[in-house]
């Protein structure tokens, strides 16, 4: 009798943490995270900075391995060509070929804009993880543009070093891609919106090939990232992410 009751409690518990499709809010966020990060990645990206009176395109080649290592090199325009950014664990380095110097980026520049875009250096370095630093709640199913999505609300844990008050995320049910994410401050005011478009197959994965960041309080301003190439299959050694390598990778 007693055993049967324990069994019953266990069964009820396991059911209550799942929704109809057998996925918890945290499970969905984990899947999105795994899907988008991957382990080894080479990418070529075109970044378009849109401002009210001008636009500007920057070509970027980047390599990354897990969360700890990444290397990004600017390939165009000619003025910025050869600039490189290296992230090794918690350090960020910047190679500026025009002055022939390696700059270690300190915590005080983390808030500044990266290459004039709507990303800050901090966004690129961010240690916070959508999985560990937030509590997740599955709100509803909603259709965003043509995608059938889960709507999730992420609230940062009290001690997490996260500046947002809450994050609302719409995740495609089929491919587990973030279709739209809204970042709010603690007063519930929208700060940034992240949108993804054009989901395509890259190798075995399906990922968005165009993404944009739209700051809420700056009209007619956004940054668009267009993926030209993704490569998940070529292995990269840890030693690839070195200062020597960032100087001559263009």
């Amino acid at each position: 009798m007693k055993q049967a009751m324990y069994l019953l409690i266990a069964v009820i518990c396991s059911f209550s943490t799942m929704n109809a499709q057998g996925l918890t809010a945290t499970g969905i966020v984990k899947k999105v995270d795994e899907n988008s990060r991957g382990n080894k990645l080479y990418s070529e990206i075109k970044m378009t900075i849109v401002r009210p009176t001008w636009t500007r395109e920057i070509g970027i080649k980047s390599w990354s391995k897990g969360n700890d290592y990444s290397l990004a090199v600017i390939t165009s325009p000619a003025k910025e060509k050869g600039q490189a950014f290296l992230k090794r664990q918690k350090d960020l380095w910047n190679w500026v070929p025009s002055i022939g110097r390696m700059i270690k980026m300190s915590s005080s520049v983390m808030g500044q804009s990266w290459m004039g875009s709507d990303f800050t250096n901090d966004d690129l370095m961010r240690e916070s993880s959508t999985v560990n630093d937030y509590t997740h709640r599955l709100d509803a199913s909603e259709t965003v543009r043509e995608f059938d999505c889960y709507k999730l609300t992420l609230t940062p844990k009290e001690d997490a070093a996260v500046v947002w008050g809450k994050v609302v995320m719409w995740v495609d049910k089929k491919d587990f891609v973030e279709i739209k994410t809204e970042f709010y401050d603690e007063d519930g005011i929208l700060i940034n919106t992240f949108n993804s478009f054009d989901i395509k197959s890259f190798g075995k994965r399906r990922l968005a090939s165009r993404m944009e960041v739209v700051p809420a309080d700056k009209p007619n301003q956004k940054t668009v990232m267009t993926v030209i190439k993704y490569d998940f299959d070529t292995p990269i050694a840890d030693s690839f992410f070195s200062q020597q390598n960032m100087r001559n990778r263009v």
């Binding site: 300190s106 915590s107 009290e158 001690d159 070093a161 996260v162 500046v163 947002w164 603690e186 700060i191």
Partner: protein
Amino acid sequence: MIINLAWKNIWRNKTRSFVIIGAIALGLFSGTYLSALMTGWVMDTVNADIKINLSHVQIHDSTFLQNSDIGAFFNKTAVEQQFASSNINGKMTCRLKLNGMLASANNAVGVTAKGIFKDTEMTVSDIATQIPDSFGVFLPDDARMPVVISEKTAEKLKVRLKSKIVFTFSDIHGNMQSLAFRVSGIFHTSNGLFDEANVFVRYNDIFPVTGLPDEAVHEAAVLLPDIETCALDFPKIKDLYPQLKVQDWKELNPMLSMSLQWTNLMSVIIISIFLFALTFGIINTMLMAVLERTRELGMLGAIGMSKRKIFSMIMLETVFLTFVGSIIGIILAVALLLPSLQNGLDLTPLIGNDFEDFGGFSSIVYPILNVEMILEIIGLVILAGILSAIYPARKALKLKALDAIRV
């Protein structure tokens, strides 16, 4: 007898005497008023900066000042014990100083976070009293990870009380560390630069992630009873810590101590210029008084008044004129200053609040009346009177009695 005569002579031509007394009074009045105002302004700034920012003496590791390196620390207990056993009458508090970035959802600014011990900090620094009512409290003990930021920083980050902000800095190993704090208080001092650069957190909240050894601090601040004792005790404190860099407020903010000396010099210069101009007025008036009275002075000589007595009579007339003028001027200045000694003089309509932005000059001035200074001024005025009377008095001496009568 001569004194009586001299005093009566002044009032023979009332208009002329009143004009010169008025000129002296006006000059002295503005001189005293201005210098009291200027000294007050600078002393306010000095005291505020000492009470909030500098303290009287600061102690650092000798390499800390070059680049605020997190590794330039010293042991808190050792320094505090040495200070306690030295019999210097003063209070000491220790702080961590960490440079990093403070970020909200809206913005990010570079700041220095001071990790403080609340108990001792409040005996040394007035920062806790710089939080206006309804702008929270200074790091309450029961709060989780509180931080106190300035009004300027709060505006930049667009945060309010209870908002969460993230502080990112490099620890001793060069690794980035991020901590989430909640705003517990928002302060406002008259020093805009200080406000922009500093935030306050509890030592125990931030210390564990710095990777520093136990009891490590970057700064010890000492508050002594006043500036005068600081001058005496500073060398003693310096001798206590030969291995550390010990600096007094003058070294910490050379501009401030220079402006204090500069103001004193300026007061003297301004009053000297007033007096120099007045000297010509006095010479002119006394010369007229002498030339006008040629016949009379000749008569005095003819009936046997000695040259010395004539000379001292003219001298006394001048001294009386200047003395009366300066007393009236100083009484006027003191009368006008008295109400503002307590409540201060609000210069905001004249100069706005702009001075706060460079280095803490408040727009409300509490003038300082210095009795010593007033006595000095009176002395200077009488000296000027005597000097300027020499020429007219010599003129009077040169008169030949018989020639003078015949005029």
